[in-house]
């Protein structure tokens, strides 16, 4: 629960970075998608998605946590509402693809997860909703949304780099079980960081 709350807060903090409103489109480019990808990749599928849910509930309650200090129920009726909703399954899919068995993810899995979950899933929900709200035909809306692709790909790359760097900087991040997970006989302890090179631990 603490991690879910903290990552929800992290997504909010990333909203403090000023967004880039691109002329000609009504949906801003924001760093928050990076937060969503990270939540999925680091927390895993379900907790990652839950942290996005928590974040969105707070937005709905009126917190100005969206890019550019936006917030409130109105946010769920703008053209970008679908993207917001899409963040929930997005984090889940990123988590499932990146870390199907928990533990430290392989870089190519993170890459796969962020592209499929972090980009495709978000677009799959966001673009139709935007088309619906604005009344602009789906195909044209999709065309407009192409301008997000470079930014989102960059965020996917950054996520891969970050997850790899984090694994080095703070290996505890990916421990399968948190601290205090209960008593285990000494010889059955899961592989720790030092054991990475060994075959113990059965990490995928």
């Amino acid at each position: 629960m603490a991690r879910i709350a903290t990552f929800a807060a992290l997504i909010a903090v990333m909203g403090l970075v000023p967004p880039l409103p691109l002329f000609g489109n009504v949906t801003p480019i924001t760093l928050q998608t990076l937060g969503v990808m990270l939540a999925g990749a680091i927390l895993g599928g379900v907790p990652g998605a839950l942290s996005v849910v928590v974040f969105l509930l707070l937005v709905a309650a009126g917190m100005p946590f969206l890019a550019g200090g936006q917030g409130g129920l109105g946010a769920f009726f703008t053209p970008s509402a679908g993207f917001l909703i899409g963040w929930v399954p997005s984090a889940a899919v990123v988590g499932w693809l990146a870390r199907p068995h928990g533990g430290r993810p392989a870089w190519w899995r993170v890459a796969l997860g962020t592209v499929v979950g972090g980009i495709l899933v978000v677009y799959a929900i966001g673009i139709p909703v935007q088309a619906l709200v604005t009344g602009i035909p789906l195909a044209k809306t999709a065309l407009l949304s192409l301008m997000f692709v470079p930014g989102d790909l960059a965020k996917a790359v950054v996520t891969v780099l970050l997850v790899t760097a984090l694994a080095r900087a703070y290996p505890r991040a990916f421990r399968r079980s948190g601290r205090g997970a209960g008593r285990r006989p000494a010889d059955a302890r899961p592989a720790n960081d030092g054991a990475d090179r060994s075959v113990v631990g059965g990490r995928s």
Binding site: T6, F55, A61, G62, G72, G74, L162, R172, A173
Partner: protein, 241 residues
């Protein structure tokens, strides 16, 4: 885990509308602005709209939103527009409506221009844009007339039926509060990291910023979990491995 504060207000947030004596109000006004910026966009007041239960407002909003989307006829939209305007009048927030519309202007224009660009018929463009605008400003009316704590409490009540699917509303409410507490903590850490990074290299790089921020966040999460445990809140059952 009752999900309420000491004085019986529901979880969460400061109630920025609490009255204080005259001088105090002015002295605190600035601080209150800061609170509001961080903790929500409620504008205190005593109108009928302010006093309506949060749940009623949320349901009304949903009703208008769904009707406008399902029956996109000019007379329906006109009626919705009138209702919305009347609600703002009742709340005494016409000024806020104007500001809100001004803020939305670029969005409205962009949406309308986009549709015209794609050669949609003008009446349809007007209807589409009007529908979107009405729902957004009506939603913002709900937000500014309802303290965030009430919205959260209504949410908690609204989640009750989901108990059957394993949702634990008080736990959700608690998580929301924890998040609110954590936002300023992380924001301050983020500022510290940005300062340190600049002081050392004179440039900003995303990885050199986000890696320490992630580490800080994860540590904060661990410490928060410890603090919760120490204060009597046991961690939920771990999923079996």
């Amino acid at each position: 885990m009752s999900g309420t504060t000491a004085d019986g207000r529901p979880v969460g947030v400061v109630s920025p509308g609490r009255e204080r004596s005259g001088g105090e109000v002015r002295r605190r006004a600035r601080g209150r602005d800061r609170v509001e910026r961080l903790f929500g966009t409620y504008l205190p007041g005593h109108s009928v709209i302010h006093r309506l239960p949060a749940g009623v407002k949320l349901l009304a909003l949903a009703a208008v939103g769904i009707t406008a989307a399902a029956v996109p006829r000019p007379e329906v939209l006109a009626a919705a527009g009138v209702v919305t305007f009347a609600a703002f009048l009742l709340a005494g927030l016409v000024g806020h409506l104007a500001r809100q519309l001004a803020r939305l202007a670029w969005l409205i224009l962009a949406v309308a221009a986009g549709q015209l660009l794609f050669a949609l018929p003008v009446p349809l463009v007007v209807a589409n844009t009007a529908r979107m605008t009405i729902v957004i400003v009506l939603a913002s009316l709900v937000t500014v007339t309802t303290p965030a704590s009430q919205v959260l409490a209504a949410l908690e009540r609204g989640l009750q039926p989901l108990r059957r699917f394993g949702v634990d509303p008080p736990r959700v409410a608690l998580t929301l509060s924890l998040t609110l507490r954590t936002v300023p903590v992380l924001a301050r850490q983020a500022a510290g990291i940005r300062d340190a990074q600049w002081a050392r290299s004179g440039r900003y790089s995303v990885t050199a910023f986000v890696v320490p921020l992630l580490v800080a966040a994860l540590r904060q999460a661990d410490r928060l979990a410890d603090a919760l445990a120490a204060r009597g809140l046991d961690k939920g059952p771990r999923p079996p491995r």
